[in-house]
């Protein structure tokens, strides 16, 4: 599953998370696989039904954390033990334990920054507009309604089938989302 959230296709509104989950099952049963949901809070069971793999964000965070730790320790070592050595009461120039606090904090800082950047990239934050926002009434996706989108790639010539299936599954509203203009 590499493709992101569909940008065009057929959108349907459901009243409860349970209805929406049942609809996802129904759509998958009818052979539609290019699906996504829009919900006001994370709904248990969506990830499995969309076939999503576990997010790769932790790997980014881990790598950034390691890099941060290495950077912090190396900077402290090079500046205090190599480039500008100061003898403080005969203590060793390589004062590893004294460098741990900064190393730890920098690890956390880099991991947290990487987490947020990765989240921003993966959810396309700062793209303030998405074609689904044009659908009248879609505001309810952030309030109390649960939407399902069937992507164009999937709908293709089976648009009527998709619409009929969604209606049968109890959608309160079924709307088409247009392909965005390539400007």
């Amino acid at each position: 599953m590499t493709a992101g959230t569909p940008r065009a296709g057929v959108l349907a509104e459901f009243g409860t998370p349970e209805e929406m989950l049942a609809a996802l099952d129904g759509l998958r049963g009818a052979g539609f696989s290019r699906l996504d949901t829009f919900t006001p809070y994370p709904v248990e069971g969506v990830e499995e039904r969309l076939g999503l793999r576990r997010s790769s964000i932790p790997r980014w965070a881990f790598a950034a954390g390691l890099a941060g730790a290495a950077l912090a320790f190396l900077v402290q070592w090079w500046t205090n033990a190599v480039d500008y050595p100061i003898n403080v009461g005969g203590r060793p120039l390589f004062s590893g334990p004294a460098w741990i606090p900064i190393t730890f904090e920098t690890t956390v800082l880099c991991a947290a920054l990487a987490t947020c950047f990765a989240l921003g990239l993966k959810t396309r934050l700062t793209a303030l507009w998405h074609p689904v926002f044009e659908v009248p009434g879609f505001e309810s996706a952030q309030v109390d309604r649960f939407w399902v989108i069937v992507g164009t790639e999937d709908v293709g010539r089976r648009r009527d089938a998709a619409v009929a299936e969604l209606r049968r599954l109890g959608a309160r509203r079924v709307v088409a989302v247009e392909e965005e203009d390539e400007a």
Partner: protein, 459 residues
């Protein structure tokens, strides 16, 4: 959250974490109303706290203009208000992270409705905390000398000193708290965008929501990222305050040079912070009639945390005094057994013991844990007691060090007092702005909680 939390039902005796809440739309509108419509008396309070900000501005300008000689600290008490208030404020901040991150990892559901307020408290407390060491530098405009940048002077900072540790710890703490807070806010800013009554507000919240759409893919990344940030923020509570305590513990001064400091400081931080959360949440709940969202259960749980951390403090005081006696070091023994309890600051010392050790005992009783006056009074005493503790540790130890000939009694000046009062004003000012413009009860999380509770109820 996850299956584990959904499966465990609350004991019957406990009041619910969420009451009433007819449907999601009504709940959303109720929680967003303060943001769109404001609140009665808000302007008056903002003006009052604005006066505090002005005072802070005057006092800091004066400090920068004439130098830190304007403060009361002088050898031997070279550290005083500048560090007392730093430790006090940053300690208060830690409870916010504790509630939002640690309790999330423990899947404590009662955190849902108070975590945003607690996190905001953290941010504002850290801003205030950071101000003190910055001013204490004497020439705050050279603060960047603490960073390892290739300076033309060809020197590097000394990383064996606690000052660079502090700088990195505080900056990291602020940055991570801000990120955690903002990531948590995204869905609620999107809800505010989509419920905004005017196009201007819609545009403003739209920009801050960064285009959040809440797709299944978004949520799947979001949940992982949010959990990860919680996991990263939790050790910060412990590490940042441990580093703060090492400012003292790595020095040789009697009363400071002790290995008990890191855990003792962390417990004290959480103690004072929870008291501050109660001082903020109780008025907020009355002001916006949030009794269904912030119930007695929240107050009860926070009072229990006060009781536990209060006992850790009491234990630390006892161990500290015992080790001073048992350790056999004459200076340590003098400071902890004579200098502090019988010296020039004896009144403050005993006031601290009374505030920090006696007050939490109130919360053995369920009636007290749910009584608004008892909680408010208790929290106020604890916050004061924790400030006194920092005063006693810092000024009490410094003013009577090894050589009696160098003993000197410290007293703050009007500038010291104005800066402390000013930071209280700044804190209130920022907090008022926060509750006016930011959804201060997490809308999305409370709706999720409601759904979870409803699903359990129907089983």
């Amino acid at each position: 959250m996850s299956e584990a939390s959904a499966a465990r039902a609350l004991p019957d005796a406990a009041p619910p974490v969420l009451r009433g809440a007819s449907d999601d739309r009504a709940l959303t509108d109720q929680l967003l109303r303060p943001v769109f419509e404001g609140a009665p008396g808000w302007r008056v309070l903002l003006a009052l706290s604005g006066a505090g900000v002005l005072l802070l501005l005057v006092a800091t300008t004066y400090t920068v203009a004439v130098g830190i000689g304007a403060w009361g600290n002088n050898i031997p008490a070279a550290w005083a208000f500048g560090i007392i208030n730093f430790v006090w404020w940053i300690g208060i901040g830690h409870a916010g992270t504790f509630i939002s991150a640690f309790l999330l990892l423990l899947q404590q559901r009662w955190r849902a409705s108070v975590n945003r307020v607690a996190e905001a408290m953290t941010l504002f407390a850290v801003i205030n905390a950071g101000l003190f060491p910055l001013l204490h530098l004497g020439r705050p405009w050279f603060f960047y000398w603490l960073a390892p940048y290739p300076a033309t002077m060809q020197v590097w900072p000394q990383f064996r000193s606690a000052l660079p540790w502090d700088m990195v710890a505080v900056l990291t703490y602020f940055t991570v708290s801000l990120l955690f807070w903002y990531v948590g806010l995204l869905p609620d800013l999107a809800a505010a965008r989509d419920r905004a009554p005017t196009p201007r507000k819609r545009r403003a919240y739209g920009v801050f929501a960064l285009g959040w759409k809440g797709s299944g893919r978004d949520w799947s990344h979001y949940r992982v990222a949010y959990g990860l940030l919680a996991g990263l923020a939790t050790p910060l509570v412990i590490s940042v305050h441990s580093i703060v305590s090492m400012d003292f513990a790595i020095a040789q001064l009697p009363g400071w040079h002790s290995t008990i400091f890191p855990p003792y400081f962390v417990a004290g931080a959480i103690y004072s912070g929870f008291a501050m959360v109660l001082l903020l949440v109780i008025p907020l709940r009355a002001w916006f009639r949030l009794h269904d969202v912030i119930t007695e259960r929240h107050l009860d749980a926070m009072a229990k945390v006060l009781l536990v951390t209060g006992w850790i403090m009491l234990y630390s005081y006892v161990v500290e005094a015992f080790l001073a006696w048992y350790g056999g070091n004459a200076f340590e023994r003098y400071t902890l057994l004579v200098g502090l309890p019988l010296g020039p600051y004896a009144v403050l010392y005993w006031a601290m013991i009374a505030c920090n050790c006696l007050t939490p005992q109130l919360f053995w009783f369920r009636r007290m844990r749910r009584s608004i006056p008892a909680l408010l009074l208790g929290s106020l005493l604890i916050v004061t007691g924790m400030w006194l503790e920092r005063f006693v540790i810092i000024v009490g130890s410094l003013s009577r060090d090894f050589l009696p000939s160098s003993w000197h009694v410290y007293a703050p000046t009007w500038v010291d007092l104005s800066i402390l009062a000013g930071t209280l004003g700044l804190f209130a000012f920022l907090f008022l702005l926060f509750i006016r413009f930011v959804p201060f009860v997490p809308v999305s999380e409370v709706k999720e909680l409601r759904h979870e509770l409803a699903r359990e109820g129907s089983r």
